[in-house]
Subunit: 477 residues, 2 copies
């Protein structure tokens, strides 16, 4: 017995060694400058993983402020929270950029129901941002299911007096879930504009997610150039409810769907971007901006969208300061307001950059969640794209393999220019649309290490960008 | 107002496109054979993501069978579950391999407590697998904290009558959390063997995790060659309790820690490996084995460890059958019994392979959880390692970048040989030790897409191995 136990103990220890495969860069393959970079990057990761602050900052923002839609009291609390925190991190200067933002409010919780084969079904539903309310008595109508805007257009007047139900699901075969989102979200954004034109009574849309569950996903919509008298209420229903409704409609094409929502667009409200910077030690007139958005939808706590981006961004500055890394160029951290329904903060930031003749040489945005790092997407000229891609061997030990060309993010893309290098942080996307714009986007869905690895990844690429981009001869964008 | 809404609608649509970065292989860079492989791999992924069964299989195993420690009635239920499921997948043959396994039982829930500065603290604790019980009245003793086996050894007789507390935490700076585990687990496995020698009364060990939380992590231990009369009870306490106890000990070095556990090692029990295969169409005498382990610890549901490995493995066969991919060599799926405390199933499988003169040319094991795929570790000769690494361009569009040399897994490593190519599936490791061996290792921690991507990743590399390894001239291992 003892002997046997001893034997499997050995096999067990073998197992633990089997799984022990920490990656180390072979320093013989590195130039002396790359060795310095490799050491600095390791320092940034060690620091984030042992002394990172992002997780506790995120806890505070999500649990003490919570959901913070533009124009809400919570959004104002978030501004104050951000300004205070930037000062605590002891940035060289911290200020607010005033900006007027849309102010849409959800009102009372929405309800939806229908009866099929004598069974009454309650449907998880939520109004879409900027939708108008239903009449006080709600909307009750037959439902026409479609899979695309084109299919809806083709229906024309047949949709008059009906509720049009957009039910094209995510393409689950796309590995990057943002691609699936990109392939579906036109239904949510433009469904009401198309159907209002033909006198539909309302639009409901399947939630934007890969998951089949009971959580409706909100998000912004637009009436486009529809005359105001043709505006119709629009809402998202959960993916499971969409599947069930679709099945029920096959059996009972004339079933009547009822919903009621009380949302309202109020006059624009004053708000702010929160901005702080570490002044560059050599060429302070050159600016790298690093940011995420401070506003969020109201249903959850705005954890992955985009509390993580906010704390990632500030932690870049924190890691620089803590490790006494002095950027040559100015490192500016921005908590953008109103990404979700207007990107007014982004536009204001870019407008002021032009007005103040600021020289932005690059930017980095985190607005794809706080999951484990995968890489960055690069929106830059071909020379700088190649330069960033040449850092792959320095970044890959941290799981940062993806360095492809692609967009950066909605908040920094207004800064785009021939010589501006814009980068989007790209964490793993598999779980993102389980939470996105729902009541499930809460702090407990964020993993501490994954979040900290994100901060360190971002700090690492900013360290390299600051060191190597335009190092001798700054080029005006 | 309308105009403004329309404007941000456009900027929003820009955002979705920004994030839309599906990777596609440039087919001009592929040979004609690689194009076939690329298409087949895409088919496997599409199939797993739209028609995968692994998630529902896992739900059934974890929620209807639950935790299934070797020798338990649940382990027997799992064997029956596995055999039935393999038959449902319509493998060419399905059989059970009898194997005697250790039979350790936890007994009543453990309790632990101590008082510091007049405050009584209850400590989350669990016995380690193969530990003896405490006396019925429990163990009450002063505590000596150490950080390593060497430090304990050096204490010698000073530990007589004391509880030795191993409290070396995970090294959080290691990116691969399995490396951190490998650097700590000697405390859990061998702590009691070292301290029993010097007459310690018991051993408690900090849980094996990066996370600071309230969940004790069980796992196997060994008394090594200690005489039976020197066996002492050993248990794990939660990481947070370890931190608090350490602090309290600094203030009150003579505080007394109490715990009580009722575990027991019963006589070995009969059990089974569950085996099924698709017979090879050309060289059926050559075998690829694909497996995970069916047993689990008792505290949770054995979801990530290793229900995911079990359903991954069977889904490889399911995806081959569903897509009419006929392996040239025999594809054998094995649900190994008793990986957690004995690896008796693995040993039995290897023993029978020799006895039956089976020609195993390769193997693939999934025992690192069901998180998002990162790659494979390769334990093979240098020629075959290079061959597998040459598939990187086929695999990287699916996030499979890691193709490094390394161990495969505890259940297939007994098959190791010069010409046997053993591979370990390597998903992202960041969250794994949040759940490992705890009551939190439950179905809800597994993400459907991440799981399915794992099955498809494994099917893809097995497809390539079957096609290219030893394709013309099988080499006997």
């Amino acid at each position: 017995m003892r002997k046997i136990i001893f034997l499997f103990s050995i096999s067990f220890v073998m197992l633990s060694c089997d799984k022990k495969e920490e990656k180390v860069l072979d320093s013989n393959q590195l130039s002396s400058e790359e060795k310095i970079d490799s050491t600095t990057i390791k320092t940034l990761f060690n620091s984030a993983l042992t002394d990172g602050k992002s997780y506790e900052w995120l806890r505070d923002l999500t649990q003490n402020v919570g959901g913070r839609l533009s124009g809400s009291p919570e959004a104002q609390m978030a501004v104050e929270w951000g300004e205070k925190l930037m000062k605590e991190v002891d940035l060289d200067s911290v200020w607010l950029q005033p900006v007027m933002v849309p102010h849409w409010v959800r009102g009372e919780k929405e309800i939806a129901t229908y009866t099929s084969n004598g069974v009454q079904k309650n449907v998880p539903i939520c109004a879409l941002g900027f939708s108008i309310a239903t009449p006080e008595s709600g909307v009750l109508a037959e439902v026409i299911e479609v899979k695309s805007l084109e299919e809806a257009e083709a229906l024309g007047d047949k949709m008059e007096g009906k509720i049009v139900f957009f039910n094209r699901p995510f393409d689950d075969t796309l590995i990057n879930t943002f691609s699936a989102y990109g392939g579906c979200v036109d239904q949510r954004v433009n469904g009401a504009a198309v159907c209002g034109k033909f006198g539909a009574k309302a639009v409901i849309v399947r939630s934007m997610t890969n998951s089949i569950d009971d959580y409706p996903h909100t998000g912004t919509m637009s009436y486009g150039d529809l005359p105001i008298e043709k505006y119709i209420p629009t809402a998202a229903i959960s993916s499971r409810a969409a599947e069930i409704l679709s099945t029920d409609l096959k059996e009972n094409p004339s079933l009547k769907f009822y919903f009621k929502q009380n949302c309202e667009t109020l006059p624009d409200a004053p708000s702010f971007n929160v901005v702080g910077e570490i002044r560059g030690s050599k060429t302070p007139e050159n600016i790298f901006v690093v940011g995420g958005h401070l506003d969020s939808w109201d249903l959850g706590e705005g954890a992955h969208d985009d509390g993580t981006g906010v704390v990632h961004s500030l932690e870049v500055a924190y890691l620089f300061k803590k490790n006494n890394i002095k950027p040559k160029n100015t490192l500016r951290i921005v908590f953008f307001m109103n990404e979700e329904n207007g990107t007014r903060g982004a536009k204001k930031y870019a407008e002021l950059a032009i007005l103040n003749k600021e020289n932005h040489i690059g930017g980095l945005e985190s607005d794809a969640g706080g999951h484990t790092p995968r890489g960055f997407s690069i929106d830059a000229n071909s020379m700088n794209t190649a330069l960033l891609q040449s850092w792959k061997k320095l970044l890959s030990p941290y799981g940062l393999h993806d360095l492809d060309k692609g967009g950066s993010g909605a908040d920094i893309s207004p800064l785009k220019g021939e010589n501006v290098t814009l980068v989007g942080y790209r964490p793993d996307s598999q779980r993102y649309f389980d939470y996105h714009h729902t009541s499930r986007d809460t702090f407990d869905k964020v993993n501490k290490r994954e979040l900290e690895l994100g901060s360190a990844s971002m700090a690492s690429i900013i360290y390299l960008m600051d060191k190597y981009l335009y190092s001798d001869a700054p080029i005006k964008p």
